[in-house]
Symmetry: C2
Subunit: 334 residues, 2 copies
Amino acid sequence: MKPTIYDVAKAAGVSIATVSKVMNNTGNIRDTTREKVKKIMEKLNYQPSLMASALTGKGTETLGLVVPDISNPFFSEMAKTIEDRAHESGMSVIICSTDENTEKEKKYIELLQRKQVDGMIVASTFHDMEILKRVVDQKTPLVMLTQDDAGIGVTSISVDDFKGGLEATSHLISEGHRDIIMIAEYAKSSKFRIYGYIEAHEEHGLEVSEENIFRTVASIENGREVFRKIVQRGIVPTGIFACNDLIAVGVIQEAKEMGLKIPNDLSIVGYDNTILATTTVPGLTTIAQPITEMGNRVVDVIISEIKDKNQTKERILFEPELIIRGTTAVNKMR
Amino acid sequence: MKPTIYDVAKAAGVSIATVSKVMNNTGNIRDTTREKVKKIMEKLNYQPSLMASALTGKGTETLGLVVPDISNPFFSEMAKTIEDRAHESGMSVIICSTDENTEKEKKYIELLQRKQVDGMIVASTFHDMEILKRVVDQKTPLVMLTQDDAGIGVTSISVDDFKGGLEATSHLISEGHRDIIMIAEYAKSSKFRIYGYIEAHEEHGLEVSEENIFRTVASIENGREVFRKIVQRGIVPTGIFACNDLIAVGVIQEAKEMGLKIPNDLSIVGYDNTILATTTVPGLTTIAQPITEMGNRVVDVIISEIKDKNQTKERILFEPELIIRGTTAVNKMR
DNA sequence: ATGAAAGCGCTAACAA
DNA sequence: TTGTTAGCGCTTTCAT
């Protein structure tokens, strides 16, 4: 079936050691031998088994990427840069989508361990840190993306969520909004965005009510649902800060269907600056996370940790950036 | 570091064969022994190496998925269903994004072969069929998604693109449009959509000009660019059929910036019915591909081919469905 | 019911 | 410069 190193060796009339050497460019091989072997490999369409070489101690040249939902543009865009960067370094990526489901999180992490990935990038909301702790204990390089490390001693890469929440909320406040609802996720990253939301209020001497903070899971449908709930409760916000673009889009859609004009009746700020933020009408004002930079960086970090396992763990924060588009405007309701 | 089967065996005071048997539920093991071994595995957090077991002839329980661009919502949504379905069957998925780049296509396919994936799903536009032919020759199950098999004898799953193109164009024609531009991709799937476009014209006794068919690569930016080009050439279409939602969104954006009213000045039909089609304003009229059904089906097919390599190859066509939203309306320009 | 041992495809000493 | 050989962690006969 698939040719092995033995097939190549036999066809070339050399030993498997020689074949191995020409594959890996190690040792001293006579040019003529090298050429001969290469020709045979070509002819047989020989693909050395990564399984076998991994077994001998070499790496698998594979990274595991765990995200909550690959169909969320934020993560698919992130996955794309991560993949590109990884492949530049000769590594491939196994992507797992956990659906924010604790069972799946566990299953996928274990799967990645069994596949002996050289390193793991975890962008998913981990409820059970014990699981991650175990991979760290087994010395598998791990870096957290988009959330901090929760004390398991790994490097983490995220944007300054506190600042992001602060900027988003401050923008709404400065436009004259006073009744600002925040729609957060259950995810860890939301925590700091909430603090930012609170801080912005305090800076302006405004009250914050826990009642104005809603929580849901990222999806357009959930965004719609939460907004419906908000309205049903008789709350009349003029501004909404949604923890991601998906939710923001849901709010936009629902609000429009209710006959609200955006941004005149309702201003909305999203988070992530995904492709969705550019396709809505009006365009979505949002907090940009530098997806490309973060993706590239996380790959660079994980690769350097693979090379040297004892690197100092750091907490890398990128700057969020407020992108003002059309969903926010001066509050004329006051 | 990571415990091996030897560590477990030693700790449990049994042989590795016994450990192997309890892992795989094979052979006859005394209950007490089984329990003892299981307890040790638990305690050591033992994860059997998939590398090692793959080497002994077992599968890798991994599927390779090759797409042109994972950040295109069509493919990320597809990837999500494929992943979900695959994981239900205990298989994981390695996703590769080729960027429609022939080099990368080759690189990734070879990578997947080296990783000994049990099967491959190829949704990417393959220019060099020779490469795919080789994987088929090596008896690796392969199914093509979203494009037909180009004579390499594998099963393919796609929607009836001819019909999709026909319906999209017929819809525009029935709304009174006569100057309909088609923006296609270089991809194989576009070929049939173009035939559909032509057929629709012929059915209505209308002329088709090759000049009205543009080609580009899927992205919002390219959609904008092509539309600019169209306008620059002095062509004034009232209808546009774009081969995917991304391009359609680009057209919408560019047209709006030019001050055109949609759908009054310009009607647009997309293709794919991704999340983007729901977020534009007005909503995008588009041809839906049943992403979930196709994704599930392709996994089922590949898994059954893995189980039995000599299955009859088939060509499975799903039905496209015209989803009418707000970007199309009766042509009032005539 | 359990274990010894061969072998999967490759790497890396070590010999020759 | 090239080849021999002992593993890597696991599965699977075949003995015991």
